[in-house]
């Protein structure tokens, strides 16, 4: 299905670069980090709706004991796809959307360092997602859990786990490429004066996440390759009868899987660290400590993977070591939370929707963090592992944490991206419904787990007395669904409004608010020169000797005071005077072509060698055209 989009890209005028930067087809050839960010966002949100629907089906099946609404096969496919979708096709790309759109703006750059590579990453990710989902129609979706434990994932007779392996490999390529791209962007593309310790925390978290990706993805890549070879070519990596070890897969998976947790949550932490200061009207408390704790979390995050394997029988030495490292990682996490509290302290807090989501993030993430520490208590974890207690824990981290943060980010930057405000009323409704629904759904799961409900079971007997809280949980999940609908309506409605938005509606502190909303294609007419952290704020406000803060002459009204400040509010960036002077990279056909080859290659591995060759040819053709096409129009 991926190849479907190729004909549109037939390299007709070979090596001549497309010009159009507007219109439908321009989306396929764009290399503009902002457009690519929007593409990431829309795609990820679409998958969010699908993954959420899968979750609802699971909840319906579990609403009452001994239900037969879904049979075992479908149920296993659903919880597997729910996990894969939410982790790889929702939270990761949604974070990528924010990184793509905002990192260049926040550091005062005109684009990422390798714009076409950036486009390639997006298309590869999209095709990976479509590839995995095509499995529903081609003999069954993955059914071995998102963690795909061997040997079960190897001996499963359906094609599902082969789709899983190939799909995640393609997604992995996409993420690795964009990780290198964005890391170099942050290091090398900063505006004059934007030293590392003047960067917004969100940019810092972006940098850390890209490095986590760069160093953790290769490990799962090898794990997936070994799984794939076992399934396709009869190798024995995880074949016990030949002396293979199933535990090797667990190491390779969790060596990636744990850093992945921080890959998912650090972006949200960065977002919250941007939103809190703006609406508390104070700078972030203990900037350096928030940054360093973020780095520490990323670093220690590589040393805790075996706490997912306490019950495997690694022996007391390993369990002790990983219990300790796991407890240690709680410390920098705590530092972050206390600094956020410090930011709120003595602030002048405005309860806008972004702020509500950020406060909700802190409140919920604390719960997830605390239950996390309880898992580090190994003997206690012997009871909790693989029960709904764990499910509750990581949903408090990844939903109460990541998703709340990302929603806050959407409300916060929506006006910047689309030049229109989301309705605050609908936003608040969205927040409260989601908060209540979320706690109704996942709070009871703590109890269920302790009462003896294991994970990944299709039903449970009446006798275990699990019925009540399961029903509560199911009802809660539908409340969440309603809150998401409210967001959808809000989003659609916002496009009914005219595009009338000043550059800096929130009276914010960072560079992206210094240019028009939406920003012109080239972001800044003149690359700003940065003099301090929260540079924009310092251009709007000054401090008297007494430490009183007073607006500077120019404004504080929210008008940025850079050259090319908020001048172009209404119009489209491309269309104005200064614009033509600035030379931006031309769109290109080749990223999408190069990416389109990958799923074709994947189908080839599944359904017959010829397609492998075709896929390789398409991809190589893409890259050669890429290398040879002129750099400008």
């Amino acid at each position: 299905m991926a190849s479907v989009s190729v004909p549109a890209e037939r390299p007709g005028g070979l090596l001549r670069r497309p010009h159009a930067t507007t219109g439908f087809w321009a989306w396929f050839t764009t290399v503009d980090h902002k457009k690519i960010g929007i593409l990431y966002g829309i795609t990820a949100f679409a998958f969010f709706l699908i993954g959420g629907t899968e979750a609802l089906l699971i909840r319906v099946q579990l609403a009452r004991p001994d239900q037969t609404f879904l049979d075992a096969a479908v149920y296993n496919e659903l919880f597997t796809m729910h996990g894969i979708t939410m982790v790889f096709l929702v939270v990761m790309p949604l974070s990528a959307a924010f990184f793509n759109y905002l990192l260049p703006l926040m550091i005062g750059a005109r684009d990422v360092v390798f714009p076409r590579l950036n486009a390639f990453s997006y298309w590869a990710f999209l095709f990976a997602g479509l590839f995995i989902y095509s499995s529903w129609f081609l003999g069954g979706a993955p059914n071995g859990g998102w963690f795909g434990y061997a040997p079960n994932s190897v001996i499963d007779p359906t094609r599902g786990m082969t789709f899983y392996a190939i799909g995640l490999l393609i997604a992995g390529i996409a993420s690795t490429v964009s990780a290198v791209n964005l890391a170099v962007t942050v290091l090398n593309m900063r505006a004059p004066g934007m030293t590392l310790f003047r960067m917004p925390v969100f940019v810092w978290m972006g940098l850390v996440v890209q490095l986590l990706l760069a160093f953790s993805l290769p490990v799962i890549t090898i794990g997936l390759v070994e799984l794939l070879f076992d399934r396709l070519f009869g190798t024995h990596f995880f074949d016990v009868s030949a002396g293979g070890s199933p535990v090797l897969w667990q190491h390779l998976f969790w060596l990636f899987g744990h850093p992945e947790v921080y890959i998912l949550v650090l972006p949200a932490m960065g977002i919250v660290s941007e939103i809190l200061p703006v609406f508390a009207r104070k700078p972030l408390f203990g900037y350096q400590f928030v940054v360093f704790s973020g780095i520490a979390i990323g670093f220690i995050g590589f040393g805790v993977w075996a706490h997912h394997m306490f019950a495997v029988g690694l022996g007391p030495v390993a369990n002790t070591a990983f219990a300790v490292s796991t407890m240690i990682i709680a410390i920098p996490t705590g530092v972050k939370i206390f600094n956020w509290l410090g930011t709120l302290w003595n602030g002048d807090i405005r309860f806008t929707t972004p702020m509500l989501f950020s406060i909700g993030f802190i409140a919920m993430f604390v719960i997830g963090g605390l239950s996390g520490v309880m898992h580090a208590v190994v003997p206690s974890d012997y009871q909790q592992t693989d029960t709904y207690f764990i499910v509750a824990h990581f949903h408090y981290v990844l939903f109460g944490g990541a998703i709340f943060g990302l929603f806050g980010g959407m409300y916060y930057w929506w006006p910047k991206v689309f030049g229109r405000m989301l309705s605050e009323t609908a936003g608040k409704l969205n927040f409260w419904l989601m908060l209540i629904g979320f706690n109704m759904t996942f709070g009871p799961m703590h109890i269920l787990g302790l009462q003896g409900m294991p994970r990944r079971i299709q039903s449970y007997p009446e006798s275990l007395g699990l019925a009540f809280w399961n029903m509560v949980s199911t009802i809660g999940s539908f409340v969440i669904a309603i809150s998401v609908l409210v967001f959808l309506v809000n989003a659609v409605a916002s496009f009914r409004k005219p595009k009338q938005m000043e550059a800096d509606p929130w009276d914010a502190r960072t560079l992206e608010w210094a240019t028009s909303s939406p920003p012109p294609e080239y972001n800044f007419e003149e690359i700003p020169v940065v003099h301090s952290r929260d540079d924009l704020w310092h251009r709007k406000y000054a401090e008297t000797e007494g430490g009183r803060v007073v607006p500077v002459a120019a404004g504080g009204s929210g008008e940025g005071t850079y050259p090319d400040g908020a001048g172009h509010a209404a119009q489209d960036g491309a269309g104005h005077a200064g614009g033509h002077a600035i030379h931006m990279p031309s769109p290109s056909y080749f990223p999408v072509i190069a990416a389109a080859g990958l799923p074709v290659l994947g189908y080839g591995l599944l359904f017959g060698v010829p397609a492998v060759a075709v896929g390789l040819v398409i991809t190589l053709a893409g890259f050669f055209g890429w290398a040879l096409e002129p750099s400008a129009e």
Partner: protein
């Protein structure tokens, strides 16, 4: 804000209450019934309360600040731009570290405690994880049974766990014969059990008696369980192990030492021979015969003391050993009661009951089914 906190706090409070006094929670980690489970529980409770305290402190501050420092109508004050405070930073780095250290010490002690093999008077049992049922092998008692683990109270039971694939048969004990080798090691002339068939990872969990121990192919794990009071304790496979993972349950039946000895004696008693001409005898014929489809019960199931058509001993090949089947309360991963109706339904079409079942549908006639049920009923 208040509303949210109420929801949150309410849930946490409920979590403890509801969990502590939940109705017939027969598989609950919160009701330890033996020293091993107690050790986990004794760590869980204090850590939980520490967490609760921290929770109230942090969320309390959050709510306090949010209320205290909310923006008030037409207040024009811009708060002082405070950038941080190193003393505070040091404080809230060290304080958690100290608390965690306090948690770490007993944690580590207990890890090693639980890992140690119990000494003195213990019972040893091999636990074999199949897709999707549990096999229990008592090497010293020469008993091989399934889905029901019988143990004496007040005595540590040291389990040796291994995962085996379809086609592996634990060596059948035969009365009078030489003691069968330990099932997890397998017969000397065979490769180790895990290396046979397509075994997958399972996880042995009976929360009221002990924490989880994974059952991993090509790896022999150990777990100590102990029950202080007689009773039936529910257990379940906790690691996703394929299509019918959900239905891989088991029970641990704890007897007083005397009752346990009685049970052992029962299990060791020779299999009664059905009197000729009875339905049961006909059922035994069906059991031993090659069925139209070419297969037969004895391909997988053995019964101590019953020999094959031409006198050869029957090996268990992946199916539960049926010796004294009717002394068990349940079968099929302990999700069906051993009633005539259930046995009949099961033999009639296993995969109708269990997705992906390894037990074939031999298209048995109604008469054959009746005879088989009659025969199985003699296996008390």
């Amino acid at each position: 804000m208040r509303r949210r906190t109420v929801v949150v706090l309410g849930l946490v409070a409920l979590a403890l209450v509801a969990a502590a006094c939940a109705p017939n929670a027969t598989q609950s980690a919160l009701e330890p019934k033996g020293p091993e489970a107690q050790k986990s529980y004794d760590l869980f409770v204090p850590v939980f309360w520490v967490a609760v305290v921290i929770f109230f402190v942090v969320e309390g501050l959050l709510v306090l600040f949010v209320i205290r420092y909310r923006h008030r109508k037409n207040a024009t004050r811009i708060p002082p731009q405070v950038h941080g405070n190193t003393r505070l930073e040091i404080a809230w780095t060290i304080l958690p570290a100290v608390i965690l250290a306090g948690v770490a010490v007993p944690t580590i002690a207990t890890i090693w405690d639980l890992a140690a093999k119990p000494t003195g008077d213990i019972l040893e049992v091999n636990v074999l994880g199949h897709q999707w049922w549990w096999e229990f092998d008592y090497p010293d008692q020469q008993i091989l049974t399934a889905n029901e683990l019988h143990i004496p109270t007040g005595k540590p039971v040291y389990l040796t766990l291994c995962a085996v694939g379809f086609g592996y048969g634990a060596p059948v004990p035969s009365e009078g014969g030489p003691p069968a080798p330990s099932a997890c090691q397998g017969p000397p002339d065979q490769p180790p059990p895990a290396a046979i068939g397509a075994s997958v990872i399972h996880s042995f969990w009976v929360p009221e008696l002990a924490g989880t121990q994974d059952v991993v192919p090509n790896q022999t794990n150990h777990l100590t369980i102990q029950a202080d009071v007689p009773g039936v304790y529910e257990g379940q496979c906790k690691e996703f192990c394929g299509l019918s993972h959900t239905y891989m349950k088991f029970t641990v039946v704890a007897h007083t030492p005397d009752d346990f000895q009685r049970w052992v004696a029962e299990q060791q008693a020779p299999t009664p021979v059905p009197e000729p001409g009875s339905d049961a005898a006909a059922g035994l014929e069906v059991f031993l015969s090659r069925l139209p489809s070419g297969g037969g019960c004895t391909d997988c199931h053995a019964i101590a003391g019953i020999e094959g058509p031409n006198g050869q001993p029957i090996l268990n090949n992946g199916g539960p050993n049926l010796t004294h089947l009717m002394s068990r309360q349940c079968f099929r991963g302990c999700t069906l009661a051993t009633t005539d109706a259930n046995l009949r339904r099961w033999m009639e079409d296993p995969s109708a009951i269990e997705a992906g079942s390894f037990m074939p549908d031999y298209g048995l006639s109604a008469e054959q089914l009746d005879q088989l049920v009659a025969f199985l009923n003699t296996l008390e």
